[in-house]
Symmetry: C2
Subunit: 263 residues, 2 copies
């Protein structure tokens, strides 16, 4: 039987709410056994860009990462946010170690090819170096990943944090019984965004498709759920989506893989 591993992704909004961050990191630090954390970016990068007079360059809601913007996200994600999380975890007796994808060569990415749009220094994950991560986990360390990767040729890249969490879970599912938690500001995937009691407790691909078609699941939830289902399909033992309370109480959304009958 494989050893359990908890992979915990926290959204950017949590990073900017000191109380939510403290509670969430408290929950994470109490998880038993091997664990790792992935954190999103938060609004600090946007604020910092504005303060530095770097104009945000968006295309259909997605950020174009030019070289000035890349410097800002590296500073904020790998510097400010990552070290804040690590220092807070250390204060909770959780032996955290902060990583970008370049550190220990843990996540190799490639610059997204230029098609209709040049997204700039955005990286698509190519390879997760499970050996380095395994070494850290076995030493009792809790890796804390920011959403920065590299191409192995000296270039840092900006990568979506939900994707990083899914890719880590998929890569480590070979060695560990991997449970993936997406912790954000909502109690789960909801049928009514304004009703906290509308959390969908179990979601399978068929239901997901139906909810999408009805427009009940939309916008930012779609890439998150696409990543989540991809992880489940690829051998991740379980995927949960919710806030710190619903996850702690087991009332968050849990994804269920549809078992197809043999023909």
């Amino acid at each position: 039987m494989k050893e359990p591993l908890h992979l915990f992704k926290i959204g950017g909004a949590i990073l900017e709410d000191p109380e939510a961050l403290e509670e969430t990191l408290g929950f994470f630090s109490n998880l038993p056994g091997r664990k790792l954390l992935v954190h999103g970016g938060g609004r600090r990068a946007n604020q910092m860009s504005r303060q530095l007079s770097i104009e945000p360059n968006m295309h259909e809601g997605r950020r174009i990462t030019d070289s000035a913007t890349l410097e800002v996200v590296v500073m904020v994600y790998a510097g400010l946010e990552n070290k804040k999380v690590v220092a807070l975890l250390q204060a909770l007796n959780c032996n955290a170690i902060g990583l970008s994808g370049a550190d220990g060569n843990v996540i190799l990415a490639e610059k997204r090819p230029v098609k209709a749009i040049d997204y700039g220094y955005v990286g698509d994950v190519k390879k997760v170096n499970t050996q380095s991560i395994h070494t850290l986990l076995e030493a009792g360390l809790a890796p804390v990943f920011c959403a920065i990767t590299h191409n192995g040729q000296g270039q840092l890249l900006n990568t979506n944090a939900d994707t990083i969490a899914a890719e880590l879970a998929i890569a480590l599912a070979g060695q560990y019984q991997a449970s993936l938690y997406y912790c954000f500001e909502k109690p789960g995937v909801m049928t009514d965004i304004d009703d906290v009691h509308s959390v969908i407790r179990y979601l399978d691909p068929e239901l997901y498709t139906a909810y999408r078609e009805q427009g009940i699941i939309a916008e930012g939830m779609i890439p998150k759920l696409d990543n989540a289902f991809r992880a489940l399909k690829a051998g991740v033992a379980s995927v949960h989506i919710g806030d710190r309370k619903s996850l702690a109480l087991g009332r968050a959304t849990q994804l269920v893989w549809t078992t197809e009958f043999p023909e």
Copy 2:
């Protein structure tokens, strides 16, 4: 016999000169066996402070680190500079892993006590966690330290990079035959700052005292040499000060400990 360990400190000025940085990291990546790197801050933190309209607050040439300044140095040192160095080393096939003192709890510091001057969020090194560093080194990783530490209670602190290099060398000298290299923009400790041929090849405490009294060694070299001699006295096998070329050619300044005759 203890295994050799190379500890390589690079000054901030090198970080801002792409050619010097590439050559220096090339030299570091070719050092055989276990090794680690410590990098200084460079002028980017000052530039960034100015861009963010944070007034530098200096006292007798030393920076007062208020909370806004701490955020800037964490962003620049632990984010921008540290990840730049790590990504470049990865491109040179050196499996670097970037660390602040909070990561793996490697360097615990305490906020400098307020006496006549409150230096703010400046940390004096209290304890180096050699076990974590040993684990990384034995896994074939090359730790890359920035000059940020923590107090174990969630507070990050700004610490002098020369001091960090000396403290790491002293702490690791118990397990390793530690060689400490201070790599900066000068070929060594010089008797005439304008004459590259005036490098002092060997410097012992008696000569150091004499040069200080004559004003030949002054200003920024004094804290660097105080750190260097402290490391040598505490069991570090050798200490070298120079630029990448003089260090590579063995023509940098080497410190020599004065052996006192038994009474």
